[in-house]
Subunit: 75 residues, 2 copies
């Protein structure tokens, strides 16, 4: 059983940014997969698949740790 | 005694790009310093200081290795 959450992220511009965000979010406990859809110069999205309920606060912290801003979550 | 060369690079968008280019160019023999001036969405520049004559072909290869395109050299 897995959950998924799609979040919007501002400030990502290139593949390195994608790698940073993917790495940080992947380090959250339970996260199995992170699919980032890069929109350079706009709002990118990350779809997170997890084996346990996803802590959105942890996702926000991971995105900030990578140097970007979470724009909104699935609410 | 040192030489310096300023080159123009296209395709760089963020600090990760700067780090990649700096790392690749720094690996060229003799290179002492690399100063990158990022112009996201435009043409960035890298000023290379070296203890020996700078091989511009090697610079082009280093930039390509980092994933970017050398636009012009000092010619």
């Amino acid at each position: 059983m897995s959950e998924s959450l799609k979040v919007s992220i501002d400030g990502m511009t290139c593949g390195h940014c994608v790698a940073s965000v993917t790495e940080e979010i992947s380090s959250i406990e339970g996260v199995e997969k992170v699919d980032v859809n890069l929109n350079a110069g706009g709002i990118s999205t990350a779809t997170i698949t997890s084996s346990k309920p996803i802590d959105e606060t942890a996702v926000g912290e991971a995105v900030a740790e990578a140097g970007y801003t979470l724009v909104s979550n699935n609410g």
